[in-house]
Structure formats: C-alpha cells, structure tokens
Subunit: 325 residues, 2 copies
Amino acid sequence: MPGLKEIAQVAGVSIRTVKRALSQTGPVSEETGRRVRAAARRLEYRPNLAARSLKTGASSEIVVLMHSTDELHMDKLLGIESVLRAAGFSVLVLFALSETEESHVAEAMLTRRPAGAILFPAPSNRLQSMLSLILKQKLPYVVLDTRLEGVNAVRIDRAQGVEEAVRHLAAQGRRHIAYVGPIADRSRLAGYERALAAFGMPSIVAETPAGSSGANEIENAVRHLMRATPSPDAMQAYSDTLAMTLLRTLHALGARIPDEVAVVGFDNRAFASLAHPPLTTVAQPGRDIGEAAGTLLLRQIAGEKPPAQGWTVTLSTRLIARESA
Amino acid sequence: MPGLKEIAQVAGVSIRTVKRALSQTGPVSEETGRRVRAAARRLEYRPNLAARSLKTGASSEIVVLMHSTDELHMDKLLGIESVLRAAGFSVLVLFALSETEESHVAEAMLTRRPAGAILFPAPSNRLQSMLSLILKQKLPYVVLDTRLEGVNAVRIDRAQGVEEAVRHLAAQGRRHIAYVGPIADRSRLAGYERALAAFGMPSIVAETPAGSSGANEIENAVRHLMRATPSPDAMQAYSDTLAMTLLRTLHALGARIPDEVAVVGFDNRAFASLAHPPLTTVAQPGRDIGEAAGTLLLRQIAGEKPPAQGWTVTLSTRLIARESA
DNA sequence: TTGTAGGCGTTATCAA
DNA sequence: TTGATAACGCCTACAA
C-alpha cells in the first residue's frame, strides 16, 4: 500500500507538497499539483485511516448498538449507514441481545474509541447503563425511538399515524371504531382518542395483554366486541401482529372484511401486504429514522451542543391504505 | 486517554516493561507485573487500536457488504458479529442496494483496509464485480448463500429441508403431494423429487412465475390443482410468502387445512407463526450461517489457504412443524 | 511555492 | 529482568 512518501518519490516532490496537493490545504503550482495527483491515481493511493486517526486523535467510526433482531431495524440501519458513509464515517455494529452480553459489548465499544454511538431500542435499564457509560465519555450519541426522557433521540409520532388511520375509517362512514391492544402503552391510543373526539364518537377499547403472547385473549376480546350492539364496524389494532389475530378471528366469526368490519394494523411489517385481505396499516419511516439519527449525530460531532434536556427529532408515521380498511 | 507511557510513569517503569507485563510478551518480575497491571486497571487503559494497526499493518475490521434489507439477514448479521467480536474484530456494515451505489461502496471498503469481507446475497454480476476487487487485494472473504461456484461460501441445503418436509407429509399418510413455485430454481424442487421418489409417489408440479409478484397466477395454479382427481392432499410451497397466497386460496375454496390439504412453506419468516393456521415451514439457520461465515473468515485470516475451487460450508435446513401440516 | 522535522501510541529490535 | 530507541503513515508548525 503506497503512502504519501511513495507518491512524493514518484512525483519528485516532498511529502508536504503531496499533502497540500491532495487535500488542497495550501498553495501548489498548477503543474506540481497535476503531477502529484497523477502519481496518486496511478499508485491507487488511499489514505491510511489508522495513521490519520492516530495523529489527529479523531475516530471515523460510529458504533451502533443493537438489542434485538427485529426486522424493522434493518431499514433504520440502512438509513444510518447511508448518511454516515456519505460523511466519511464507518458504521460498526455491536449486538447485545441479553443483559449478560451488555458488559462485553460495552467494553468492545469503549475499546473501539468511536466518534459517536447510536442506540437501538432496548429495555430502559439496559439503555440506561449504556448511556451512563457514554455520557461519562462525553461521546456524541442518539437513541432511537425510546421512552427515556432527557436524552438525544429520534422519536416517532405513533399517535399521529393512528389518528390519521382512524380519520380514514371515519371518512368511510364507520361510526363504531374499536381499539384493540394493551392500554398501558398510550402511544397509539392517544391518536385513536383524538380522532374519535374530533368526530364526537364514543371510544370502544378492548384491552389485551402486552407482549406478543395471548392469542386467546385477543380472540376473546374480539368475540366480546362483536357480540355488542351495535358491534364495531372497524378496529384499530395495536400492531400488525395483533391485527393478524384479529383478521383470523373475524374470519372465523364470518365477518366480511372490510365491508362489515375494517381492520388497521401498526408497523407495516413485511407480512402486512400478504395478509388476507392485505392489511391497511400505519408505517414507521424506518429509513428516515436512521437518516435523522445519523444527521443528529453528525451535528454533535461537528460541535453543536445538544440542549440539557436532550435533543429530539420526532418523525411522523403514515397510513398505508390497503384493502382491509 | 492514557497510553502505555502514562502507565509507565505511574508504575515507575519503562514503556517496554509495561508492554511486556500487559501482553505477557516477555519475562516480568512478579512484583513489577502486579504494579503495572494495577496501574493499567486504575487508569482504565485500553490499547489504541489505530496505533496498533498502524504499527502492525494489520486491520481488526471486517467489512460486511449487504445488498438488501431482507429481514432474514438480521440473524446472519448477528451470527457474524458474535463470532468476530469474540475474536477481537469489528464488524463494519456497508449497504449497496443499487448497482449505482456499488462503486461507492467498493471505494469505501477499500479505504477501510479491512482484514476481510463477508458478502451477503446479491445479483451475480454485482457480486462478481465486488469479488474481483476483493481477489485483486487478496482479501480473505466469504460469500453467503450464493449460486456462484468456485468461491468461498457458506451455503444452505434447501433440498434437504424440503425432503424432510415432504417425508413428514408422507408420514402423515398424504399421497398426493404437490409442489408450487418457480421451477427454474431447483434448490427446493430437488428435495421434493427425492422424497417422492423414495416413496414411489408421482410428482405434481405447479409452476408459478419467479419473483414475489403474481398472486393471480398462484391462485390459478392452486385452483387448477384442486380441480384434479384426485386433488392434492398436501402442497409444498417455494416460500412462506407464496404459502400465504396458497393458504388464502385454499380457504377461499373451502378446503380445511391441514385436514384436507396440508401446506408447507419455506424460510420461516416472522409471519409464519402468525398465519392461519400457523405455517409449517423449513427454516434456514440464519445465525448459524453467520457464525459459519465468521469462522471461515477467521481461518483465512489466520493463514489457512482455501482450495482453488473455493471453500464451502453447507448447513442444513430444518423442518419447523406447526399446524398447517 | 516548497521542504524539514517532530510526534501521535504501539510494537519490536537490540543492548544492558 | 529491564530500558533506550526506532518505525509505522499521516498531519502540521515552522523555515526557507
């Protein structure tokens, strides 16, 4: 691998001149510049990042901490990578699936001396311990889609997308719109309630257990809902996953979808378009989230100081209308 | 950030001695060793990887080239990361979704001077151009799950998993087992045919267009199949995605699943367990694939020479029995 | 407009 | 058992 020295020899000038010519960091004569650049090109010169980093004390690596293999994270990762690569940074991925791994991953992160870190969603306690490390190092960072307050974060407005969805249902003339899902998490529920309030419609909430288990409870909830008079003519589900169970139960009850009952999911997962009927749902802007996180991080690296209460970018979610509503 | 120098000062010895004590690379007296290690711990010393890399000329970074955001890739990435991190390497992710990006990504890869590269599935021509670069650099590499021959690769035996699935169907007494999918790709079809041959059963193949489009064609194929006498009592689908359409069409025809017709998918995607009924399918060992790739790469980095025709590890796929078969 | 020289932190050679 | 010293490639203060 050729370095500045070799280029200098070939071009018959000093290292300093090569540097000036290649990084336009000082005056170089027309002719010399051409010769140097030609030599660099011919030798396929690429700067040695390790040497640069050693000299400048600055890292060109960003650590991304992932805590799950959720398919939705792929797009976020893509967004992060595209923004950071364009800015000359490398994206270094670390997985910490379990609490036990967290300390190894923390150690790995610190050893890499990154220029910044991006944290994917994780249980608060694990996020907290990583964050305290990061803050101690005064490392630029961004947390993705977290409930933690007072931190730099890219968040998404779930309520807004759900409100949009419920308005969409109302615009179809639906008047008995139910919400099915856990109610401890009000992120979607709030949007549902806002939309109903705007139309002066009563809320019909069927609580189901949190977590992905409990298909039976969901089924019972739906059956219960459908026995009411009048029965709901639309259902907003907490997630696409939950919506799948909804669809199945409604089919079993003989309800025609969307004619008799509309169903809306949340997440726009890969299978949403494969559901029967194809599921109308609210999508998170995965790639945008990643790009926003990358941008926010770059601004910190460039020296901008986040406010004390943390720097937040909130992105909107959007309705994907398919056939189920 | 403290370096060896600072530790040396604190411990009252020379840099060389610190180095010996910390990396057991030479004789150090009991007492000196203790003092040095204590100082290192107290100062939270971490080696400067940039300096090390500059000095040794060796990189501790592995580049992972991704060409899609397929959810199934997450587990592979996880496997790669876990093996490589354990060996002290960093995993650097680069995305090249389009052909246009490929050259930028190639340039980014070369600039990073990685110790090796892992290539995710991509169209052959794009893989080829990356590979020619990599070979020119004599970089250790592994390609994941590729049809390319003569390269270092981790492959999966799709036929074997499908054969297992079809045997499973036969063991249930099914005697008219159909295969639905594109036939240009024989990777699954071969397993289907092997199993049928073993049981002396006739093959019933319904060809559908390649790619994820063409729900109509699939529907027609299924309807056509079900009109035959006798009609199939089981169907092996090319993919989970295709299986979803199968399920829907069979439901529409009033067929009871799995009583009248069993359905088996391929891939074990996230939605397989959410299908109605939960989809029996053949799973790729995502994490194992990643781990195998990491291991294969590490062996090359350690100096083992792959044979001229390439080094291949083939992993088996496995049947995940759920309720659809 | 061009060149000299020193240092970043690590590794490793050589001498004591 | 220990230490002085050079070198990796890049960046830059300072001279010419």
